[in-house]
């Protein structure tokens, strides 16, 4: 197992270099001069454009720019935004919020999703099953900005139970509703995924054996059936957490949460290559680590899976 993890970690290096380069060149390839739109209807004076272009190395060929950027990055310098703010400061401010929000969303989707899946699978066809199916279908069909917006207007403005937006250093309590909105789509997927997997395993040979040898139904379900059914669910949750850590542009926008998603979105709009590359590289690393974690969890869930 140790060697496997080491190998996976070493694989991060080429991936890191590759992604930074691809992202850097993609941002570079966005048409138009990033400084042209900065000065409003008057347009920027040539001396300003020239000075900024020089400061951000945009006058040099792409590979040179990239090497200069990477050199700075290895010294721990993420660079500066066009308005003179350290990208590392922005990441430091935004990441804790994103982690909190992602965790809350994940807890919601995992707890409610898995519970709903188990419930429907055990009860079999009937009212509960239909209710969960209809509810999940609804959640999948409604885009996040609609559910977010409706919840915000109803709970925030009309009923006045919550503040419509989240403060600058949000507490867990403030993030509950946004987290629920963010997790609602995946919650539906998890419920359906668990339900299907449980249904399949219900008729499996090992379940019949377990029941036949006299185990209590509780033990059959929780140890034998659930453990096997959760493998696809864990895969889904793992990649979903990776995606959630990448920020949620829509949810963040609706509730004015200053997380990582909005940061990247704005930077792309402004063609701030330095910010985009810095943040996205970090996201790629997080995503890769999440995948590694999922792979390790497989082995924990299913003893047949061995990595050495």
């Amino acid at each position: 197992m140790g060697r496997y993890i080491l190998r996976r970690l070493l694989q991060l290096i080429p991936v890191f270099i590759g992604t930074t380069f691809i992202i850097y060149s993609l941002v570079w390839a966005i048409p138009g001069n990033p400084f042209a739109g900065l000065c409003g209807p008057r347009g920027c004076p040539p001396s300003f454009v020239e000075q900024m272009t020089e400061q951000y190395n945009l006058d040099k060929p792409l590979p040179v720019q990239y090497v200069l950027y990477l050199g700075q990055l290895f010294q721990g310098n993420f660079g500066e935004t066009f308005n003179g703010i350290e990208v590392s400061t922005l990441i430091q401010n935004a990441y804790p919020v994103t982690i909190k929000l992602a965790t809350i969303a994940l807890v919601f989707e995992a707890v409610i999703g898995i519970a709903a899946g188990i419930l429907t699978a055990l009860r079999g066809k009937g009212f509960v099953d239909n209710l969960v199916l209809a509810a999940t279908l609804f959640l999948i069909a409604v885009p996040v900005f609609v559910s977010g917006f409706v919840i915000q207007v109803v709970l925030g403005v009309q009923l006045d139970w919550i503040d419509p937006s989240v403060g600058s250093d949000p507490t867990i309590g403030e993030l509950l509703i946004p987290g629920f909105v963010l997790g609602s789509l995946s919650m539906a997927y998890i419920a359906r995924l668990t339900r299907t997997a449980m249904f399949e395993n219900k008729r499996a040979d090992y379940i019949r054996t377990a029941t036949a040898k006299g185990l209590t139904p509780r033990r059959v379900v929780s140890v034998h059936m659930l453990r096997n059914s959760l493998i696809p669910v864990i895969t889904f949750i793992g990649t979903d957490f990776g995606a959630l850590m990448g920020g949620a542009i829509v949810t963040e926008g609706v509730f004015n949460i200053h997380g990582i998603g909005g940061l990247v979105y704005q930077a792309i709009n402004k063609q701030e290559g330095v910010t985009v590359t810095g943040v996205v590289t970090l996201l790629v690393l997080v995503y890769l680590l999440m995948n590694l974690l999922v792979d390790i969890l497989y082995a924990a869930l299913d003893p047949r899976i061995r990595y050495d």
Binding site: F48, E50, S168, N269
Partner: protein, 551 residues
């Protein structure tokens, strides 16, 4: 935010208890402490596009902060937007109309205690103008003698040729007489010069700025009614009142927190539920059918913008050479219905090339050409020999322009029977590039906001030969010489009159088609007794007043 909601009930029950106990003095009124640093007044804001340095900031978000943090020689009253002397005790013009002697008020200090002297102005202005410093606002100083030496013109605009190196570091037109007096010499007389320097770019900068620019960027220091308290990038910025402020425009609120919102929709929601005290933007969804006016009632703020939206014509394209065609287009457009149907009346149809609320300005230069007259438009088009092919209208798709541009296209299509295509350009950056390089495939939308409250700001930069924002390539000697004559005028009134005469020339040539002026729209919470938006679409922080609350 949450705490605030608790304050009122707690205070109310406490005071009730006190009254019941028979010790309720002072008439029983309980005033909620708002606007303090613990419970600041919150105003919607956005991340500024550049560092918070007056000579390098050009966006409204930066302007909101800098306006409150700095006071220049002249300032504009937030309500009337008339210019008045601020730090200047007097600005006197010499006989030859070119030199101004500025006397500063004494005893003014920067927020760090440094005294504001003539040197702070001269140094800041020289810094702004010197080309190698690459300051965005450099061109504001181009009327001062010696500007061309410190900021030589690029021979081909943004083109490949390098501009020549500056031959001087300081503008010869600025001379310090003593600590509180300096003279400004202009290249050419400019009658309304004192009116134009209320813009933030003309602010003084403290010694510390030149010594430690990085430190200044982190903690800017000004001489204005509000001082910098703290900032979390991308989240918020807090300002506190500068107690030693000597000027007229002192603030009334102790602490103001500017909160970054990504969506005006969220800010609007927050405003309605009392989570935000002022917004300078109403989302499109609330504008539909005038819903925001109903929802906000007397908390809605609106006034006419000091700006104008036009349909600019690519005069560099031979298809648009004939003024008759340009007039035909103008007369085909039904401004009144666009204002009524699309903007729900929250705009005014243009009658000239400047915003009708510009002080000392009388609209009407466009006259009959700005009226909707389909039959006359058709005639004019016929006289111009028709229009070959498809006309492509461009707009930047990152602003709310689609709806009214479609309406304009519909007018042209229906009235003139011309094939019209739409060309939405994804971002303003690309759009600006296309204007700069004169690559617009046809008529395009253009929005202009006044730099100073005078009609001149709507004329020379946009239509003067080689004007700083003249992208259409319009050039007319008569127009230029009329402007020059106005610049030389003996008094400001005379100058304004001549500027308006110059505007008449635009009526004959129709280089761009004036369309309408939007309203500036915003809203305030119940916690504020007063909130004012400037006609340049920024919240006037010094005008905020907290409501007296009685229980």
């Amino acid at each position: 935010m949450r705490k605030r909601r608790m304050v009122a009930p707690v205070a109310a029950s406490l005071s009730a208890a006190l009254l019941a106990a028979g010790c309720g003095g002072g008439g029983g009124g309980v005033t909620e402490a708002t606007g303090t640093l613990e419970d600041p007044i919150t105003v919607k804001w956005g991340e500024p596009q550049t560092e918070l340095v007056p000579t390098n900031s050009n966006d409204t978000n930066g302007g909101t902060v800098l306006n409150a943090m700095f006071t220049g020689l002249v300032e504009y009253d937030p309500e009337t937007y008339e210019p008045r002397n601020a730090m200047a005790k007097s600005i006197e013009r010499s006989e030859d109309k070119k030199t101004y002697t500025v006397k500063l008020k004494e005893g003014w200090k920067f927020h760090n205690g440094e005294e504001v002297t003539a040197d702070n102005f001269v140094r800041a202005w020289n810094y702004a103008a010197y080309a190698p410093n690459g300051q965005q606002q450099a061109s504001f100083f181009d009327r001062i003698a010696g500007y061309d030496e410190v900021h030589p013109a690029d021979p081909d605009g943004d083109g490949p040729k390098e501009p020549p190196e500056p031959t001087a570091e300081k503008m010869s037109g600025l001379e310090i007489v003593d600590d509180h007096t300096f003279t400004i010499t202009l290249k050419e007389p400019f009658a309304i010069f004192p009116e134009t320097i209320g813009y933030e770019a003309f602010s003084p900068l403290p010694e510390t700025f030149f010594e430690d620019k990085e430190g200044f960027a982190e903690h800017p220091i000004g001489n204005g009614p509000y001082e910098f308290e703290s900032r979390t990038p991308n989240e918020s910025l807090t300002l506190t009142r500068y107690e030693d402020y000597k000027g007229e425009d002192a603030g009334h609120v102790d602490a103001i927190k500017l909160v970054v919102y990504e969506k005006s929709q969220t800010a609007y929601q927050d405003l309605q539920s009392g989570n935000l005290d002022m917004t300078d933007e109403i989302p499109t969804s609330a504008l539909a059918g005038g819903r925001w006016k109903e929802e906000l009632g007397d908390q809605a703020i609106s006034r006419e913008r000091l700006g104008i939206t036009t349909l600019a014509l690519p005069l560099y394209d031979e298809k648009f050479q004939d003024p008759k065609l340009r007039k035909a287009l103008s007369m085909a457009i039904d401004r009144e219905s666009i204002v009524k149907e699309i903007f729900n009346g929250a705009a005014t149809a243009a009658e000239g090339w400047a915003a009708s609320s510009t002080p000392a300005y009388e609209p009407g230069a466009c006259g009959e050409w700005c009226t909707h007259d389909p039959s006359r438009a058709k005639e004019l088009l016929k006289e111009a020999g028709g229009f070959d092919g498809t006309m492509t209208l461009s707009y930047n798709a990152d602003g709310a322009h689609k709806q009214w541009m479609e309406a304009v296209a519909g007018n042209i299509r229906n009235v003139l029977d011309i094939e019209v295509d739409m060309n939405p350009v994804p971002t303003f950056g690309t759009y600006q590039d296309k204007m700069d390089n004169q690559e617009m495939p046809g008529p395009y939308r253009y929005g202009w906001v006044a730099d100073y409250p005078n009609v001149e700001t709507f004329l020379k930069p946009l239509y003067g030969t080689n004007g700083s924002a003249n992208y259409t390539g319009y050039s007319n000697e008569k127009f230029d010489s009329k402007l020059a004559e106005a610049d030389q005028a003996a008094t400001e009134d005379k100058a304004n009159e001549l500027y308006m005469q110059a505007e008449q020339q635009l009526g004959q040539d129709m280089p761009v088609i004036p369309l309408f002026t939007n309203m500036v729209k915003g809203g305030k919470s119940e916690r504020l007794a007063k909130a004012v938006m400037t006609p340049r679409n920024t919240p006037a922080l010094t005008a905020l007043k907290v409501a007296e609350q009685t229980q």
